[in-house]
Symmetry: C2
Subunit: 376 residues, 2 copies
């Protein structure tokens, strides 16, 4: 059994950017890394084999969704999420906290946990740190997240302080609930809303508890990019340099570049896959909305500089046609391209950090976006 | 430029089954052949590369749909359906007749053609044999179908006779409208509803007009399998043995076996792809509805005897989960399996005819279905 470990390969002299390697029981992960979201044990619209071809190193699965449907016992009996969905690379599961707070009805928070009703059928459930860990272990996660309370934005200081302290106590309970020695890892999640002193306290308390990695949670909840970057810039340096740092739920290509610049290693977001289904495509010069009439007869690929399967074989005109016809292949091809874009971006970021040229990379990244793609 | 041709390789001594080879300007097609339907320049839920891996030799594209959206001029300018959708094997286009009669509003039939309103936006169009051929040529079809009037079932004799005669006159006009010498083929379509004398007249008249192939149209319109088989049995022997015979719009696996038994060479149907999206899967022992609760924790593949990618990697439990979650991969994986089933069935049929063992194959085919899959 490979023990979970993290190794810093190189760091940038001109920024806080880091290049690292995670070792997990299901193989290595080069960081900085973007994790596509496979909410219901499938990354929407894309086969596991294709994910591998695109360079996906690890995916995220959602504890809340799989707990409700089909149920973690069933998933465990069918080989965990890995066997169930035919994915043999690492999987990170979230704690379920975010969805309990964003999707379910009738939440009641106590010290013990959260009482909530399923968004699917109204059934009542009681999620606790212990149950969250048990579910994540049944799902077969290689990286588990401590159960936490996701604080909405804005939040008043008193509630934010209470919730943050409670998340710390839940993090300790999550840690105690783990099955030791199976090679998986458990990450703690820094909360604190947008209050730097609460962030500092949360980070100090969690570092004291000694997790295999640390996440910055409670960002990208409506606070805006500037405040989010400030929070990263404040929080990330408080975390031990020898542990992976995961900024949860981001984001745009710009968000990823800025987070790496500030020292983050791991990211997840539904943006590339959800945008794909809505016909919004990422390119080196910005976003493109494929439904626009300007693409009706456009024979060019999504992005002339992209080498992906979609850009090699399909025109904007065809992709627009598929989108307007609500064809399945619209989602399939758009998802393929967007994930290629994200993984290619991360690959470029990793190379730039390795070569200590990340500041230059970041300048180029923005320069290419000065001419919006829509006016090309 | 390869001229279109058809060659009979072998025929069955014990039935009317035939094994043949079509030569088209885009490559050879081994018959009997099943053609997946790519209505809107995409076979729903499956990539062209995957179609090839599954053994798809030729697909059907729908003239009516592509005429309305995105328009045949646009498709022509983007490389025809082949270039537009990235498919380099042969394409057969229907004449648009069937959809004009089944989908559009306010149809008015005259000798000149059919006035109809688009089911998409109500726009008025006038489809004629000449326009149908022009559209099919703009789409880049390798096999074109003569414009015909699809007769609903039941139809009184007088209307059926008029419509059949009109289709014959439209077939002649379709033939005259063709651009000669481009290597494509034009097939005539036998109509006549369920009246044998009208079928005989239609066949004789069309054979007199000398088409590169002949289709039996107006079947599988609600007449039931027994009457449909009677009509095939009556009509197919009236067609020249040295031309391909295409039974349009069928069908179930049983329909295909029975049509081959009666001497048909080509088929198309939305059944494998549409059923897939509805969670109905084909197996060697019959159909299986994946949503049934009996499959909730079933670790076995759709069909133990199937070698397809889906059956090698995914359980019924997972496929049921995807279906219940309305996930894109549900349609993608189910379509993959069903098309594999259909192509594999045709491959087995071709081998059986080659070995002059088709009668035995047909017996085995039904014997395996005696124990319904749902009670396995």
């Amino acid at each position: 059994m490979t023990e979970f470990s993290f190794e810093l390969i190189s760091s940038s002299a001109e920024s806080s950017a880091r290049r690292g390697r995670l070792r997990t029981r299901r193989g290595e992960i080069q960081t900085p890394v973007f994790m596509p979201v496979g909410t219901q044990a499938t990354v929407k619209g894309i086969l596991p084999e294709t994910l591998k071809e695109l360079g996906t190193q690890i995916i995220l699965a959602n504890t809340y969704h799989l707990f409700l449907r089909p149920g973690h016992d069933l998933v465990r009996d069918l080989g965990g999420v890995h066997g169930f969905m035919n994915w043999d690379r690492p999987i990170l599961t979230d704690s379920g906290g975010f969805q309990v707070f964003s999707l379910s009805d009738l939440r009641k928070i106590t010290e013990e946990g959260v009482l909530f009703q399923s968004h699917l059928n109204g059934a009542r459930h009681h999620m606790t740190p212990e149950l969250s860990v048990a579910v994540q272990e049944a799902l077969g996660a290689d990286i588990l997240m401590a159960f936490d309370e996701c604080i909405p934005f804005p939040a008043d200081r008193s509630y934010a302080a209470d919730a943050t302290e409670r998340s710390t106590r839940w993090a300790l309970r999550s840690k105690r609930a783990r099955t030791p020695g199976n090679g998986s890892a458990l990450f703690g999640i820094i909360q604190g809303s947008m209050y730097t002193d609460l962030r500092a306290k949360s980070a100090a308390d969690l570092v004291e508890l000694d997790f295999e990695g640390y996440a910055v949670g409670g960002l990208s909840v409506g606070e805006g990019d500037a405040l989010m970057y400030d929070m990263m810039e404040f929080t990330l340096p408080l975390l031990p340099a020898d542990r992976p740092r995961y900024v949860m739920g981001i984001g745009t290509p710009e968000n990823l570049v800025e987070a790496v610049f500030r020292g983050a290693d791991m990211f997840d977001c539904v943006l590339p896959t959800r945008n794909a289904r809505n016909g919004v495509l990422f390119t080196s010069s910005g976003r493109l909305s494929i439904k626009q009439s300007r693409y009706t007869r456009d024979p060019s690929p999504i992005d002339e500089s992209c080498s992906c399967y979609v850009c090699r074989h399909y025109s904007r005109a065809y992709l627009r046609h598929l989108y307007l016809c609500n064809e399945i292949l619209s989602s399939v091809l758009n998802t393929h391209h967007n994930l290629h874009y994200y993984h290619n971006l991360m690959e470029s970021i990793r190379k730039a950090v390795e070569n200590d040229s990340f500041a230059g990379f970041r300048n180029d990244f923005y320069r290419r976006r000065e001419v919006p793609v829509e006016s090309n």
